[in-house]
């Protein structure tokens, strides 16, 4: 079998103008500039509209007096499939059970949201939030104070009007 080779005819250098191609390219650019159906989000000036069930880094809810809502029941470290929550319970000066140590390793976390689902007092939440950049890795282990400082919106794991997805 013989092999047929198609020879491409190329314009000779020096004898070719790129003007037409440039203009058609620019025309496309300007068309997009005024096109109402544009898709590019002007981040960071514009905020992304995250889905209600987006699951990002955690946040701990606090009582009005600033105490964490967590009662150190131990269900979240038990249910956590990635084993990323470290919890040591204790008793505060008012006799309430509270977390002496509560740490979440956000690198290890797989953002399944089961900690929020299992929490009996609605203390730990995953957040609708994605801006987590840090300069060092150790900043990704969020301790209790850090979790309580977070103020981003929390995730709706289910639609309250249809909790069983029926």
């Amino acid at each position: 079998m013989t092999i047929s080779v198609k020879m491409m005819r190329r314009p000779e250098p020096e004898k070719n103008s790129y003007l037409r191609a440039t203009l058609s390219g620019m025309a496309l650019t300007f068309r997009h500039l005024v096109n109402p159906a544009k898709v590019t989000l002007q981040y960071p000036e514009e905020e992304a509209d995250l889905h209600a069930r987006w699951r990002g880094t955690h946040r701990m809810e606090v009582h009005a007096d600033g105490r964490p809502k967590c009662v150190a029941c131990g269900l979240c470290p038990t249910v956590c499939p990635a084993n990323c929550i470290r919890l040591v319970g204790g008793e505060d000066d008012q006799g309430n059970r509270y977390p002496v140590v509560y740490e979440i390793d956000e690198f290890r976390c797989i953002f399944c949201g089961m900690c929020q689902e299992v929490c009996p007092v609605e203390a730990i939440h995953v957040g609708r939030h994605f801006e987590n950049a840090e300069y060092t890795r150790d900043r990704f282990v969020y301790d209790l104070d850090r979790l309580m400082e977070q103020d981003h919106p929390t995730t709706l794991l289910w639609d309250p009007s249809d909790p069983r997805s029926e």
Binding site: V71, C73, G74, G89, R97, P120, V121
Partner: protein
């Protein structure tokens, strides 16, 4: 046999001795009838009404814990009527029992939680406010959460019947009834009160020591033997994160029934002590050097071969039978010598009046009897110190096993040609030894203790040993093997087999025979000091 009757429980025929209760008979066919007030070690008042079962021919459901089985009786524990009764009783319990499982220490091992989960309603129907009592300090190690109480009165009956020191009672009536102490007297000064924490089927009585420390489902349970006195109570070590979190009694009717004393229960922090000898340390002209086992033991065998003179050894009654026998084998292979041990002793025994064979014994170590049976000599005073003058003045080889030598100074046995120390921790008298070999505690190794009556009981490893620490029987066995050309024992049961072969008192015993219940030695050597 005339004394045996046959009845039918849930369609299964079962033969039981006459006088057996329906609850026990049902247990025999594998049916666990829910119950609160009944406990094997206490009387049955039949007041929790949870063990109601349907008996054919009886006009109403019968409480299984007090109803004696009769010949030909047909009982069903899972009929519609029985289930309905239990569902109703459980619902009544939840009228007042708070749903504070997330902050309750009993959560995960709570009987109310289990029963309601299995047979109770999905949702409560009571709209009335629950009664609130708050928390009360009962003294000693016990906290009382009155709201959670289900009024089974096991705690009251334990104090009255078993400890026989009436400290608790039920005050008020009906819905308002609550367990209380007599004025401010509390449980302070009693020695067995932590057993009521075990007895409490819910989280009403909790241990202050264990408060909020760990969740029940996080704990690993390892059968063991209490090391705090020579009674040898069967216990479970509850561990998490390689630390002992609490001790719980393990049922053994021949030793401690269901109980253990507070002294033993709360004396576990030493097991978790962090500062441990972790690598073999060898002293030569250049100072102390840490090295691996093989290197250290090779050096030690060479030194033992070089040194002239007899051997004197100090053992510890906290060491297992295997460890002590291995020490004895080593001393014998070096030409024989005196082995002594020191025993801390309490002023007097603390007997549990309702179960008088159980007491906190005077010897505050688990294996004094084992040491006596192996022919070790007890020296020193009742505080576990002194008595080592002739060992300290010895010029030959001095071997110390397990004894921390806390009362001895850095000049201990300074005249000895060779000093070998096998221990868990360092100290002034330990640091000057020629060889310091790290060994494990009883919680980190397998072995046996011999209790005061000569019962050999096994314990199992619950923790990982730190660093290079190894069981003493393995280290000593390797030294004996090196010296005599025999095999090193690889497992604890091999070490025990050697002990059995060498000592008549233990003959005929094996790990399989001992099992989890223990086995008594042949000899009855009187315990020294008694």
């Amino acid at each position: 046999m005339a004394d045996t009757i046959t009845l039918t429980i849930d369609g299964q025929e079962v033969s039981v001795p006459k006088g057996t209760t329906l609850l026990k008979a049902a247990e025999k066919v594998g049916k666990d009838v829910p119950h609160y007030c009944y406990h094997d070690g206490l009387s049955s008042p039949a007041m929790c009404r949870l063990c109601l079962v349907e008996v054919q021919g009886a006009p109403k459901p019968m409480p299984a814990c007090v109803t004696q089985a009769m010949d030909g009786q047909v009982v069903s524990t899972e009929s519609e009527l029985a289930l309905d009764m239990r569902r109703g009783v459980l619902e009544f319990y939840l009228v007042n029992h708070p749903l504070d499982c997330p902050i309750c220490d009993m959560s995960g091992e709570c009987h109310l939680q289990d029963y309601v989960h299995e047979e109770g309603r999905d949702h409560g129907r009571s709209r009335e406010p629950k009664r609130v009592f708050g928390r009360d300090d009962f003294g000693g190690d016990v906290l009382f959460y009155g709201d959670r109480c289900v009024m089974c009165t096991r705690c009251v009956r334990f104090m009255n019947e078993v400890e026989q020191d009436q400290r608790l009672c039920v005050v008020e009536r009906g819905n308002r009834s609550v367990i209380d102490t007599f004025f401010e007297r509390g449980l302070e000064g009693t020695h067995w009160h932590d057993n009521i924490v075990d007895l409490c089927p819910v989280g009403a009585l909790v241990s202050k020591d264990f408060l909020h420390k760990a969740r029940a489902w996080d704990l690993d349970h390892t059968p063991s033997v209490c090391p705090s006195c020579s009674q040898g109570c069967n216990i479970e070590l509850h561990t998490r994160d390689n630390l002992v979190q609490r001790l719980k009694p393990r049922e053994n009717l021949e030793v401690n029934a269901f109980w253990m004393c507070d002294h033993g229960r709360l004396n576990y922090e030493w097991i978790n002590h962090g500062e441990r000898a972790e690598a073999p340390l060898v002293r030569d002209q250049g100072g102390v050097k840490a090295m691996g086992w093989k290197e250290a033991l090779t050096l030690l065998v060479a030194r033992l071969g070089d040194v002239e003179g007899t051997v004197k050894a100090v053992a510890s009654p906290f060491a297992s039978n295997e460890d002590l026998a291995a020490l004895q084998a080593l001393v014998e292979s070096l030409g024989g010598g005196d082995i002594v041990y020191r025993m801390p002793r309490a002023e007097d025994e603390i007997v549990l009046k309702g179960f008088p064979t159980l007491a906190r014994r005077r010897d505050l170590a688990p294996n004094g009897r084992g040491a006596d049976l192996l022919g070790l000599r007890r020296v020193g005073g009742d505080d576990g110190t002194g008595g080592l003058e002739d060992v300290s003045a010895h010029a030959g080889v001095v071997i110390v096993l397990g004894d921390g030598l806390a009362d001895q100074g850095a000049d201990f046995a300074s005249g000895a040609a060779l000093r070998v120390h096998l221990g868990t921790r360092s100290g002034p008298a330990v640091a000057t030894a020629d060889f310091v070999l790290p060994i494990t505690t009883f919680a980190e190794q397998e072995g046996t203790f011999t209790n005061h009556e000569g019962r050999v009981q096994r314990f199992w490893p619950a923790l990982n040993a730190p660093g290079l620490a190894r069981p003493a029987w393995l280290v000593l066995g390797a030294l004996v093997a090196e010296g005599t050309g025999s095999e090193t024992p690889r497992r604890a049961d091999e070490a025990f087999a050697r002990l059995v072969a060498a000592h008549d008192a233990f003959s005929g015993l094996s790990y399989d025979d001992i099992g989890t219940r223990g086995a008594v030695v042949n000899d009855t050597v009187p315990l020294s000091g008694d």
